[in-house]
């Protein structure tokens, strides 16, 4: 139980200016931008080292106090909201970039390092290298993103989810033990998870329920000099998987996104496939564009679909990473409310996902932006059903909540799995999960977090 004594002990571990239980601070940490109900923490702590994290976890474990690790707090589905109170461990002070290995292409960063910081650091000091950025605001953290299997602008070309780009981790377990996973456990390098038994997965996709990530090794990739975009447009929902697959199979596109939105009105009813291409020379760029155009030639020659000319002002928007379009859309209803179901699903289900999204939003009388990012050279898609709302409009908040629930169900019906699902969504997934898997998850939780203090309420297996 959290007491005044607990607070004083925490203040001894972390300098008191980085610990708070002021109501106005707690209020901020009790909610995110989504529709999930707020829950008050007992206190918020900002540790600055692995040792401080260890001590806090030892204390919390002894006193059975819930601990919720938090990065940017931008997940939108309430995953870093303290459902059962306790300590919010705000990781933002642990933001050092510890190593860039140019030859073996990885970075090692602390558990609170933001996407924006690593990107800016690389641009300044290693302009020929980059990591895969999600389209979340730059304050989102690398650890928070891999903890939920995030994805980003290199997910299509460089082999998948950001969690698949992790080369190693340092994690503090609920009892305060520190573990190193991947090559860094054995040698001073953070180059890969192989050839050792792969334990990294015990902390990826677990929403902070198995430990606190204090260091991450993450893959870096070349940052080509040139970047351009092609936008393919069609009215035919059922054509999208074919277009996407043909483009994917050329292996020339870096990032491939799909979008369908009723706003702006000139795009209502039209699907856009945004194909990002990078190259090191004009010739390479021209060749890649030609290859992509050629595979769609028989389609665009019918004039039923085709490449949209992109004027320079529009192009600037398409080329930025992270993309600001979704953030702008997030406030389309004013009041700053925004949440989305991201469902990881087979590419061929995109048309049905669109239909489901449109049907659900029409039924609930709300607006939408639908879209998808291709993951891992066409192995699946992260399909998002994004619903903005005005947070002072209680009625609208309720409608969005119901729409999100329906969307989770629809995603599962379509053969997809809701990603970074809120607690209700997690329960839906668990209900459908193979009992063996379910039971293994439970046993793993019991081993890693016997006191049940790590982000309780999430992935809760009874």
């Amino acid at each position: 139980m959290f007491t005044n004594e607990t607070l004083s002990r925490i203040r001894e571990i972390v300098s008191s200016e980085y610990v708070t239980n002021e109501p106005e601070d707690l209020y901020i940490y009790s909610r995110d931008q989504g529709v999930q109900d707020p829950h008050m923490p007992d206190c918020v702590v900002m540790p600055s080292s692995t040792e401080e994290v260890q001590e806090i976890l030892r204390l919390a474990s002894r006193e059975q106090i819930p601990v919720v690790p938090m990065g940017g707090g931008l997940v939108l589905s309430g995953l870093s909201v303290p459902l059962k109170g306790g300590i919010v461990l705000d990781m933002k002070r642990m933001n050092r970039i510890l190593e860039i290995n140019e030859k073996s292409h990885y970075a090692v960063v602390e558990g609170g390092t933001s996407q924006g910081m690593l990107d800016a650091y690389l641009k300044k000091n290693f302009p020929h290298l980059k990591h895969s950025l999600p389209d979340a605001p730059p304050a989102a953290t690398i650890a928070g993103n891999i903890a939920i299997h995030g994805s980003g602008h290199l997910s299509q070309s460089q082999g998948g989810f950001h969690s698949e780009m992790v080369t190693g981790l340092e994690v503090v377990l609920s009892n305060g033990d520190v573990v190193k996973l991947g090559s860094c456990s054995t040698v001073p390098y953070w180059f890969s998870r192989a050839p050792l038994p792969d334990l990294v997965g015990l902390f990826l996709g677990w929403n902070g329920t198995t430990g606190v990530i204090t260091k991450v090794g993450i893959k870096l990739y070349p940052r080509p000099k040139l970047h351009d975009v092609l936008v393919y447009m069609t009215e035919d929902i059922d054509l999208a998987p074919e277009v996407l697959t043909r483009v994917i199979n050329t292996e020339t596109a870096e990032d491939i996104n799909y979008a369908l939105s009723p706003k702006p009105d000139y795009l209502n009813g039209f699907q856009m496939m945004v194909i990002n291409i990078t190259a090191n020379s004009e010739d390479e760029m021209a060749l890649k564009k030609k290859i992509i155009r050629d595979v769609l030639k028989d389609l665009y020659e019918t004039k039923e679909s085709g490449f949209m000319p992109v004027p320079p002002n529009m192009k600037t928007g398409f080329l930025e990473a992270p993309q600001k379009a979704l953030s702008k859309f997030a406030d389309v209803r004013r009041g700053g409310g925004f949440e989305y179901v991201g469902a990881i699903m087979p590419i061929e289900r995109i048309p049905d996902a669109c239909r489901a999204g449109m049907e659900i939003t029409a039924r609930h009388g709300i607006t939408y932006s639908l879209g998808a990012r291709i993951i891992g050279k066409g192995h699946c898609a992260m399909f998002f059903f994004a619903y903005p709302f005005n947070r002072v409009d209680a009625d609208e908040v309720e409608k969005v909540k119901m729409a999100l629930e329906d969307t989770n169900e629809a995603s599962l019906r379509l053969g997809g799995i809701p990603w970074k699902a809120e607690v209700q969504g997690q329960q839906l997934i668990l209900k459908q999960m193979d009992p063996g898997t379910y039971s293994l998850m439970k046993r793993i939780r019991e081993v890693l977090d016997p006191a049940g203090i790590m982000n309780p309420g999430n992935w809760e297996v009874s």
């Binding site: 447009m233 000139y266 004039k303 039923e304 320079p312 002002n313």
Partner: protein, 339 residues
């Protein structure tokens, strides 16, 4: 509804078929050109309909001003030939559609019609435009771009309303009759397309070059000759008003710019490549861009001047990469005044 003033008999009697024979994009001998064009005139299918890149040039080439291009567009629309993919066409119809948000405002001479593009308003400044009022936006947009989309119908539907908007909201209450058209497209609409379809234009359109030339004359003593070589990229819509083309030379003379000879200028001007890209003719688009830039470069030009925002958007990058400075005509004139 508005009907194109087009004389089929004139075409059927025509032996030179200049409209097609001089076309830079359709390659036919005279017999084939005659056959295909006659078919077109009779309302039948013709390969001209799909080969046309909508460069507007045959409006200038026809010695009888029989509006061959407007006729092509009529036929494309009638026979369902879509030069540009349908979703892009539909989306543009909505994007460029009137928002109905126009409000009356007092305007002062000179009134500059910026077409749809408030983005180009930065060019309206300094001595040449002192006291000018600019007007722009979807509610006064000429809509002539829909010629590239085989949609005369959209222009017919919207243009009368646009003209009325300009009169009732701006010109009539302020007692002004002239409208300076920043973009050739508007000038071409009011002096060529509208009369060809019997739409009355109650104001006097003035081409930007005409305006600039006369405004420069008034401040002639302030001009510091630029002494640079400038290539001019003639836009498709200037084909609708070839009588204004001489102003380029006149202006250059006033501002002390040399115009090195290009292969692709005057009546031999080449499309910038922007529309063929939209028409999914990518190789042609790239070839046209390359030819234009190489031609400018070979002429020894240091600057490349444009009057069309679309040509500018298409070619500014390649021009700059080739070591020349892309600039709009209004800015070039202001440069000569040290502005």
């Amino acid at each position: 509804m508005y009907e194109l003033v087009f004389d089929p008999e004139l075409c059927l009697r025509c032996t030179s078929v200049d409209c097609i024979m001089r076309c830079q994009y359709i390659s036919m001998d005279l017999d084939e050109a005659k056959r295909e064009h006659d078919a077109l005139v009779r309302g039948e299918k013709s390969s001209i309909l799909s080969q046309c890149v909508t460069c507007y040039a045959c409006e200038e080439y026809c010695p009888y001003r029989n509006h061959p291009f407007y006729h092509i567009v009529e036929q494309q629309e009638k026979l369902g030939v879509h030069p540009i993919p349908i979703p892009i066409e539909k989306s543009q119809v909505v994007m460029m559609g009137p928002r109905g948000k126009i409000q009356p405002k007092e305007v002062r001479r000179p009134v500059i019609d910026m077409c749809f593009f408030s983005i180009m308003k930065g060019g309206i400044r300094g001595k040449l435009f002192e006291g000018a009022t600019t007007i722009e936006g979807s509610d006064i947009f000429c809509n002539l771009m829909f010629l590239h989309f085989a949609r005369n119908s959209t222009i017919k539907e919207r243009l009368p309303r646009m003209i009325e908007n300009i009169m009732t909201n701006y010109l009539t209450p302020s007692g002004i009759r002239e409208l300076i058209c920043y973009h050739d497209e508007c000038y071409g609409t009011y002096t060529s397309w509208a009369p060809a379809f019997g739409i009355e234009v109650p104001f006097t359109p003035v081409h930007l070059f005409d305006y600039l030339y006369h405004a420069l004359l008034e401040v002639k003593t302030d001009i510091k000759p630029l002494n640079v070589k400038v290539a001019y990229q003639r836009p498709c819509s200037n084909r609708l008003c070839p009588e204004t083309d001489h102003f380029v030379d006149d202006i250059f003379e006033l501002i002390g710019a040399q115009r090195p000879r290009r292969t692709y200028e005057y009546s031999n001007a080449l499309c910038c490549g922007g529309v063929p890209e939209a028409a999914q003719r990518f190789e042609l688009s790239e070839e046209l861009q390359r030819k234009n830039v190489e031609d400018m470069k070979a002429s020894g030009a240091q600057f490349s001047v444009f009057n069309c925002p679309f040509c500018f958007w298409t070619l500014a990058g390649p021009v700059a990469k080739a070591g020349m400075i892309p600039v709009m005509m209004s800015d070039l004139c202001l440069m000569a005044l040290g502005q």
